[in-house]
């Protein structure tokens, strides 16, 4: 059996995926070195390497067993995620007025909402795996997956962590786009968007979040308009990205980043630091890598041997896609500021672990594509 496993790994191992991930992660570590140095926390990049190494092991462990085992325990995994989310509401650690973390003594903190993104994908994949359709789906057919999404969303919002909740919604919508929908269903979903939007604005958003959105709109019209208020981060980030020009200011030579103009730059704005120091060439290269990664996810999905694998690949791909778009978009001022990390690039254990889980699942689906 081990010989067979080794054999399969040699023939069917997804080298492209691996190389993409390694390049992005290594670039991210280098970028963190610059940030950490400027901030007087020089060990930042080392911590990130430890997490990447640990996450790599997790990814490997996740990749090896046939993913159909995950299909079998799909709802169980989903339920574990929900339980963790409930747990965090009671015993979670509160930081900056939000209760998002479970503390495991000296081991560190875990953010169940990060994990939930992946578990939601697995749950939805299991649901759709057993629900093949030939006809287009009606609105009523979408109720169960919608409820499966709304439950963790509600729990995450009450932490509160609006960014992750929003991601859950986007994951759900992306996966539903994979299925065959009736034109009317599509219409109903589209039409309900503004209604949900207005409701969310009135009851869900906190004043500071509303302010961010307002500031975002005003800054789209006039970038200088709100540069001292809520638009401060966006304005500084845009300046950082733009000031990189073609070739960038050089590694560790940034101005905006190292001079504390960007709060939370190692988690929320690593792209600004990167674009400032590496310029257009570096930034486009990074964006290109992410683009290839996401298209690769779609390819893995298309080549998957079953529905479960396809939904997993698309779901994981959508996590990557939306986080990349939101994070880079907000760094460039075309998306409102939402606390969403840049996959494998941002600093943070929970974030790295989640994406490594994703990579493990992708690899798994990719490796087992020919298996019957």
């Amino acid at each position: 059996m081990p010989r067979v496993l080794a054999h399969r790994f040699r023939d069917e191992f997804d080298w492209i995926l691996t190389i993409l991930i390694v390049i992005i992660a290594v670039t991210g570590v280098i970028n963190l070195y610059s940030t950490g140095k400027a901030y007087g926390i020089p060990d930042l990049y080392l911590t990130q390497i430890y997490w990447l190494a640990f996450g790599g092991c997790v990814a490997f462990a996740v990749a090896v067993p046939d993913y159909r085992h995950y299909e079998r325990f799909g709802y169980v995994l989903y339920a574990v995620g929900i339980l963790l989310l409930i747990l965090v509401l009671f015993v979670g650690t509160e930081i900056n007025n939000s209760r998002r973390w479970l503390t495991f003594g000296a081991l560190g903190r875990l953010q169940p909402s990060e994990l939930m993104k992946v578990l939601l994908v697995i749950g939805l994949a299991k649901l759709l795996h057993h629900d093949p359709r030939v006809e287009g789906r009606k609105v009523i057919d979408m109720v169960v997956p919608a409820l499966m999404t709304l439950l963790p969303m509600a729990l995450i919002i009450s932490e509160p962590d609006l960014g992750t909740a929003l991601l859950c919604l986007l994951i759900f919508l992306s996966i539903m786009m994979l299925t065959r929908l009736k034109a009317r269903s599509l219409l109903v979903v589209t039409a309900s968007a503004p209604i949900v939007g207005v409701w969310a604005w009135s009851y869900l958003l906190k004043p500071y979040q509303k302010q961010r959105v307002v500031s975002f709109w005003s800054s789209l019209i006039d970038p200088q308009a709100d540069r001292l208020g809520a638009g401060w981060q966006t304005y500084q980030s845009i300046t950082a990205v733009g000031s990189g020009r073609v070739t960038g200011k050089g590694f560790t030579q940034g101005i905006i980043g190292p001079h504390h103009f960007l709060p939370e730059q190692h988690t929320d704005f690593p792209f600004s630091v990167f674009a400032e120091e590496q310029g257009f060439i570096g930034a486009v290269a990074l964006v290109f890598l992410y683009g290839v990664l996401i298209l690769w996810c779609l390819r893995i999905a298309a080549n998957s041997r079953d529905r479960f694998g396809s939904v997993i690949a698309v779901g994981v791909g959508s996590i990557f896609f939306w986080q990349v778009i939101i994070n880079i978009g907000m760094a460039m001022g075309i998306v409102p500021v939402v606390g969403v990390t840049l996959p494998l690039f941002s600093y943070g254990g929970s974030s790295i672990l989640t994406f490594m889980l994703c990579i493990g699942l992708l690899m798994n689906v990719s490796i087992h594509r020919y298996m019957r």
Binding site: M177, R245, I255, H259, F261, V284, L298, V314
Partner: protein, 659 residues
């Protein structure tokens, strides 16, 4: 169990193409935005990123010093520090607590400061959030070092050097030296584009006296230093940051030039002391051969050290409502009837025009009738010559003289001597005084010109007005053979290193068209005023003090007594001003001393003794006469045993003698 058909995947098949398209399009948008930010607007963002972190910090220029003619410091700048807050970068939490703790604020002060900062931060568009404002001026060394040590914890707090002007002599010569205070918005606006280094909020500006006159020389040009700061406005020490600074990184300030005055503060002190007992008055001491002002005092004065740091409302009111008008420079800005001190000029006009000679004898019966009016003399002087008329200050003689000479002729000579026009000494607002003419009267009082005007003008009343500075310049001309010098208070302007910037040699305005014979007669008359038994200033004559001068009494416009008036004050304010215009010594005069005691009464009684004391001490302490010893050396009393020490002033002289 694991069996599931690949066919089932067909539901998803046609979706991937759309998804790929969506992903590609979205990434194209991202790249498009990168192109816009980095390639199209890159330079602008790059400039902005530098502007974010590079601050230009002004380095104030040290204002030039003012010295007296002997090198004593009259005005200088002392280092002082202020704590300023820039609201935008300020930390209202811990930083606020720290700052108020360091400054020793109580709760009320802290609340006030909090409100002030909050007000400036209320509106994000209010640019005052970036303007620093001072929270403590003139902080002591202890506070300074504490705050400096905790700078890291005090974002948005800065220490700025604000040199404070210091006047070691206090109120002595205050009007002449002047003072500085902070510029206001109008001052800045008015001088925009007119000076090399535009004024900014917090700068100081010379307001009066020499400080104002030589503002552009004294001020200097501020320098600057570029530094890198982070988002909290804290200076950064990173080596990488240093390279961001464009060259040059610093411009040294250029210190203001030093000014050397003609004034001698030791003499100024003597003048001040001689005026004791007189609440209000003024003295000008002038070098007759150069027109240089050696002392100029207007009493009472204010302390420029207090004014320069800003007056409270009460202090201002006290200063403005003081009946002795301390703000007014009585040597330049205030004009008085010159009274009898004007008589020599009327006399010279008559003599030069050949209307009278020194041999002519007039008769004074105590009054002079003209038409229906009677012009009085203090007492009947009997038969009297011109010289004696000046010595006893006979009005009747001058009424006669004026009738013969005429108003316009007297006015012409008076103008020759500088009356009726500003002396252009330049350090304060100056009144030009007034010499009336027939034409002026015709305009002012239409109808028949009355010769009575002329009679009054000849004795320095009527509408004749003069400043002390004018009288000093005119009497200097009598003493120096007829040269009118422009009065000067500035001797030299030098750089801080002592290099000459500008010299001020004596400036001759004109030589008066009066013969030496006439001038000699005037000098003889002035000597008589003091030396003759019946001279009006004979009472002030002091043995060993060689002084010649003319007394005068300037009539004061009578005030009606209102109910509730302070009786003493009423009598005081209705008393005439006392003049004494003098030169010393009587042979080859060196200095002119013009003294005016406001509401002093008769000149001979009140003004002359002041001038005599100044003269005595001037020749004892300031410029001892180097006379050939008349008596043989051994016959002189031994100096060591002489009780020379009378007071502090002579104590210094005594020690000089012993050398």
């Amino acid at each position: 169990m694991f069996v599931s058909s690949r066919n089932e995947v067909s539901e998803f098949r046609r979706r991937y193409r759309w998804m790929r398209l969506f992903v590609v399009l979205t990434f194209i948008v991202l790249v498009g935005r990168l192109i816009q930010l980095q390639l199209v607007d890159g330079d602008e963002h790059h400039r902005q990123s530098l502007a974010n972190v590079i601050r230009t910090v002004p380095i104030p220029a040290v204002r030039g010093r003012i010295f007296d003619s002997k090198g004593r410091v009259m005005a200088t700048s002392m280092p002082s520090h202020s704590v300023v807050v820039i609201p935008h970068y300020f930390d209202m939490g811990k930083g606020f607590e720290r700052l108020t703790e360091f400054l020793g604020y109580d709760d009320e002060q802290a609340a006030k400061l909090r409100a002030k900062i909050a007000e400036r931060l209320a509106n994000p568009k209010d640019m005052r959030r970036f303007q620093q404002f001072s929270v403590a001026d003139g902080i002591n060394q202890e506070h300074l070092s504490t705050i400096k040590a905790f700078m890291e914890e005090l974002p948005g707090v800065d220490i700025v050097d604000v040199p404070v002007r210091y006047y070691p002599y206090g109120s002595m010569g205050a009007h002449m030296i002047g003072y500085t205070n902070e510029v206001n918005a109008q001052d800045i606006e008015k001088r925009r584009g007119m000076v090399e280094d535009p004024y900014r909020s917090g700068d100081r500006l010379g307001r009066t006296g020499v400080e104002r006159m030589l503002e552009s020389d004294l001020r200097g040009v501020r320098g600057w230093r570029k530094k890198v700061v982070d988002a909290r406005n804290l200076p950064l020490m990173r080596r990488e940051s240093e390279t961001l600074l464009p060259e040059p990184r610093m411009q040294e300030p250029r210190a203001g030039n030093d000014v050397i005055s003609t004034v001698d503060m030791a003499l100024q002190k003597i003048v001040q002391q001689s005026l004791r007992g007189h609440p209000s008055g003024a003295v000008v001491v002038m070098d007759v051969d150069t027109g240089r002002v050696l002392a100029a005092t207007s009493k009472p004065a204010y302390d420029p050290n207090v004014i320069t740091s800003g007056l409270s409302f009460e202090q201002q009111r006290a200063l403005n409502e003081n009946i002795f008008r301390p703000r007014i420079d009585k040597t330049l800005y205030e004009t008085y009837f010159p009274g009898s001190t004007f008589k020599p000029f009327s006399a010279m006009a008559a003599m030069e025009e050949g209307k009278i000679t020194e041999a002519d004898v007039f008769h004074c019966s105590g009054f002079h009738e003209f038409g229906r009016r009677t012009f009085k003399c203090p007492k009947p002087h009997g038969d009297i010559s011109l010289r004696d008329g000046l010595v006893v200050s006979c009005n009747v003689l001058f009424y006669n003289l004026a009738e013969m000479t005429g108003m316009d002729t007297i006015a012409r000579y008076a103008r020759e001597f500088g009356f009726g026009a500003q002396t252009r000494v330049g350090y304060n607002s100056e009144a030009s005084g007034f010499i009336p003419t027939k034409a002026w009267y015709a305009k002012r009082f239409p109808g028949q010109f009355r010769i009575g005007f002329t009679l009054n003008a000849a004795i320095g009343q009527g509408n004749v007005k003069a400043t002390l500075m004018q009288v000093a310049a005119a009497y200097s001309a009598i003493a120096n053979g007829g040269t009118i010098y422009r009065p000067q208070v500035i001797r030299r302007i030098e750089t801080g290193d002592g290099d000459l910037v500008k010299d001020f040699p004596p400036e001759v305005v004109r030589r008066v068209a009066v013969s030496q014979r006439t001038l000699d007669l005037m000098m003889d008359s002035l000597v008589g005023v003091v030396e003759d038994e019946n001279g009006t200033a004979h009472g002030a004559r002091t043995e060993g003090v060689d002084i010649a001068g003319k007394t005068g009494t300037a009539q004061v416009v009578r005030r009606a007594r209102k109910p509730g008036d302070d009786l003493n004050q009423h009598y005081y304010l209705n008393r005439d001003h006392a003049w004494f215009a003098a030169v010393a010594p009587s042979i080859e005069p060196e200095i002119a001393i013009v003294t005016l005691i406001e509401h002093g009464g008769a000149g001979g009684e009140h003004a002359a003794p002041v001038a005599v004391e100044i003269t005595r001490r001037y020749f004892e302490e300031i410029a001892p006469r180097q006379e050939e010893p008349l008596i043989a050396e051994e016959q002189q009393p031994p100096r060591d045993k002489a009780p020379l020490v009378v007071d502090e002033e002579t104590a210094t002289t005594a020690s000089t003698h012993r050398h």
